[in-house]
Amino acid sequence: MPVINVDDLTDKDKAVMEVNQLKIEIKLERWLTSKCCEEIKEYIQAGVDEDTLFKGISEEKNPFKEKGGCVIC
């Protein structure tokens, strides 16, 4: 099934594969890192108040808390 068998590839074949992939990737339009990081920061800060794992949750509202004790009837 697989179109390549990595064990059969020589180091030269692997290098050729890498160069071909780089030739494709070089055409990518890249944004400014500073702008992207600002966006990541804003995204996180917008969502952080709703984030239970970050803010914590009171025991009453916690759906995972142990339910009531055992009652023997």
């Binding site: 099934m1 990737e25 990518l28 992207c36 966006e39 990541i40 969502g47």
Partner: protein
């Protein structure tokens, strides 16, 4: 929640009560990955048998729906797109998109030169990312089958990979003991999560819903918590007696679950 263990069982749990809802005996006990379909009708598992087996757990008793057999290496990771499509990553260095109606491969993604260890789907389901033993993470166009971007920087196998919730960044975890965040649009590594006291490889990772917290499972038996913005370690989940092999956060973000070689799954919040 679904989990599978090398004791040969796949279990579906009610995480609120801790009760087991479904138990599926696995043909091959050497399981490495398990997945839940978004519909919750299907689960999949696979491992050293090189096969991804899909089970219908909504039937009266769990039935094998499909055995996807074409990889020539172990199945390291599987993820459902829907009830009719699943993505697999394999030790044969390829990832494959399968059609579950026919059981055939729709697309084969080749470009890694090391075993593929994990994959993650983008929130918009048009792309996916893979991490491999060639220490590279690659972004793929699901429908075209081509590798769009490659992210280097790690110095050892990438064992865990995840999309940041916005879909514009990815987080990777590696045997080189670090996690990294790469931004997709600027095509760069933007943060490195390393601590001089941490000398164990990262086996798995999961993010909290806002993306602020990264829960990373390590070989040192702990799950360390990183603040993704500050790049600092902010906590640790200790309690396992062996390597933490898997970590997950549910869709509602209410907790985090860790699974370990000590045979326990622990839910934390």
């Amino acid at each position: 929640m679904v989990s599978a263990s090398q004791d040969g069982k796949l279990l579906v749990w009610d995480t609120f009560t801790g009760n087991k809802l479904v138990a599926v005996p696995l043909k091959s006990a050497w399981v490495m990955s398990v997945a839940f379909a978004p519909s919750a009708n299907l689960v999949a598992s696979g491992g050293l048998d090189n096969i991804c087996t899909v089970y219908n757990i909504k039937a009266a008793s769990p039935k094998t729906l499909r055995e996807l057999d074409a990889h020539t290496g172990y199945l390291s990771c599987c993820r459902f797109l829907s009830d009719s499509e699943i993505l697999t990553a394999s030790g044969d260095t390829t990832c494959v998109l399968w059609d579950l109606e026919t059981g055939k491969q729709k697309m084969v993604y080749t470009n890694h030169i090391g075993d593929c260890m994990s994959l993650a789907l983008s929130p918009d389901m048009n792309m996916f990312i893979s991490g491999a033993c060639d220490s590279l993470a690659k972004l793929w166009d699901l429908r075209e089958g081509t590798c769009k971007q490659t992210f280097s920087g790690h110095t050892s196998d990438i064992n865990a990979i995840s999309f940041f919730p916005s879909g514009n960044a990815i987080i990777t975890g590696s045997d080189d003991c670090s996690c990294k965040m790469y931004d997709l649009r600027s095509d760069q590594e933007v943060t490195d999560y390393t601590d001089a006291t941490l000398n164990a490889g990262v086996t798995s990772l999961a993010l909290s819903n806002s993306g602020r917290l990264i829960f990373a499972g390590y070989d040192d038996f702990n799950c360390h918590i990183w603040d993704s913005l500050k790049g600092e370690k902010v906590g640790v989940l200790s309690g396992h007696d062996n390597r933490v092999s898997c970590t997950g956060v549910p869709a509602d973000g209410m907790g985090v679950c860790t699974g370990s070689w000590d045979s326990f799954l622990k839910l934390w919040n």
